[in-house]
Amino acid sequence: MANITVFLCRCFGEIDNAIDFDLLRKELSKDTSVSSVSIVDSLCLEADIEKAASQIKETKADRVLIAACPTLSRGNLPVDGLIKEGIERHKIDLVDIREGCAWIHGNDPEGAVKKAKDLINMGLAALQHKEASKDMRVSVHPDALIIGAGPAGLAAATSLAKTGFKVNILERASAPGGMLRLISQLYPTGEDAADKLNPYIDEVENNHLITFYPQSKISSIEGCIGNFTVQFSSQGEDNSIQSGIIIIATGAKIFFPTGLYRYGEIRNVITQMEIERQFLKGSFDAKKPVFIQCAGARDKERPYCSTICCPASLKNAMRLAGENPGSEVFILHRGIMTPGNVLEKYYRDALSMGIQFICFEEEKPPMIMGNDRVEHVEVYDAVNGITRKIETDLVVLSTPLVPNDDSVRLAQMLGIEVDRYGFFSESYPMHPLETKMDGVFICGSARWPVASDQAILQGRAAAMKAVSYLRQREIAASTLSRVPGPKSGHARVVPDSCTGCGNCVAACPFEACHLEKLEDRHISKVDMMRCKACGNCVSVCPNGSMQIPEHNYRMVGEMIKRAF
């Protein structure tokens, strides 16, 4: 027989003003599962918690029911206090009779007493059926793995190495640098990309904590936070490393606007990347360049703004204007996207340099005129309401960044998600670098198109997020929670009754369930490190083989039966 101690908190009269505690105590003492009922003044004060704890120890009560205010007020204080005193969490239950009863039904004392009695009854039922989930601890491999050696990846790697962690970097190309290697100068500082990159590359080469794997291709990723195992080949050699966390900094690729604005068909229609390549070789000769923004972006197919193309055009336009005195530079745009203080100033600089901006509409894109080379561009100037004919010798298309081809594959290996455009997506807006898989972080253009300085910032930020896990020797599954406090438990399979139907595997939003083949059938297994105890699997399990012990079906059923 259960032996439950009930504490009724008066809350300095706030609760027993509306609820007759004597009546309640009388009713409760009839219940055979209740061993004692005590009325306390205020269970949230430390002294009272201690008193309660010693009383529990004296009476050797199995379980404790606290009827007080809800967790979101001060109800967590007695619960946490008792846990500190050594009472297990699943042996304590909290029933809210203040906000949910005394206060909300203050003008109906009869109803309030009835409700309080029912609520406490439900609490007693819950206590009798509550079980504790198992927890599990994983020892943390203190190395970090960074996929991609662009600015974001390099920043993350060097930050982590400086903090004292061993870092492995996998890079598809043969040298670090990513897209920064393809461009000459950075906006808005005008700094050489190489100058920005070199300190990082030096650090990668010289820091003994960083290992760089060029020309690598990942074949599989297994495991979970604390202990990922990655199989990959680098320079043709198969290899395998372990890591505690993974930072994805794979970047993005440039969209090639084949077919747009007669690109590929006519000479002198080039992309930003081509002009960058020219700049890397030296100066570039163009007297009347025309930049066209949003080539392939903000349209039906790619309905997003790629962030970096407007400032990049400003940069190249200013450079062309500066290097070719007397030249006339046009930027045809659909709204110049230069948010913030620095970029807005950059825009102003471009204006004062005499670069001409013409705003066009999506429906009326500029026309490239000319036979084998571009002669002029015809554009409807939306602000002035006239069609303008601009003579030109060079058309530069600003194309967006698009996700890498293998991003979906990588996402599947890691069990994370990509957004509708194909970039890796975060799972919760306040934590923009964290994915739905703990220990997998995203940064840089793999997450969303960003300029190199932002990518570096994100790389460092992702590294910071990683540190909090890497510094732990082991991680308990119950601490990997998305809510304040520890997880509410872990889903648990009853292997004898599991039919192996796979509903839980399909329904789990965190990919924590998988099927395991036994001799004659399949059964489901839950990976506790991934399970967040949302209970989706519980609701789709056809015969209740999947349960969250802290919220099992017996408890719910019994609570429902006692609700009125």
Binding site: T71, G106, A112, V483, G535, I560
Partner: protein
């Protein structure tokens, strides 16, 4: 006067916040509802709702977080289709899908909680009683 009784499954991170706030504001609601806090709306088994209706509870409300606001990677939204089918079943049998209220992200303020519960009470009061469905031995009260 029909005095309906309601069972509420409230997500701890949205609906329950509204319920608590309603208490803090001393909103005055009939004492004929009970709240069972759940981690996520996805944890509410449709069977539990049927269990409640069979036990003579007139209506069940599930209050969860709104789209994208779920702390469990949109687990709450997985439950929509389940409840949609359950409503069909309740409609078929004449119990009435109206007895199941699903609300996402609209109950996190005290007045919203109050409004939802008050409306639900009124709606349920207008429905025919569930008596024919309650088998003589199955009634729990």
């Amino acid at each position: 006067m029909n005095q309906p009784r309601i069972l509420i499954f409230a997500c701890k991170w949205c609906g329950l916040i509204g319920a608590d706030a309603a208490g803090k504001k001393r909103a005055s609601l009939p004492a004929r509802f009970r709240v069972i806090p759940v981690e996520c709306a996805a944890l509410v088994e449709p069977d539990a709702i049927l269990r409640a209706l069979a036990g003579g509870i007139d209506g069940v409300a599930v209050l969860g977080c709104h789209s994208g606001g779920c702390r469990y990677n949109n687990a709450n939204h997985a439950s929509i289709k389940r409840f949609e089918l359950l409503k069909d079943l309740l409609d078929t049998t004449g119990i009435g899908g109206e007895r199941l209220l699903l609300s996402f992200g609209t109950a996190h303020e005290y007045h919203q909680f109050e409004e939802i519960i008050e409306n639900f009470f009124n709606e349920l009061a207008a429905l025919p009683p569930l008596d024919p469905w309650l088998s003589p031995f199955g009634v729990v009260s």
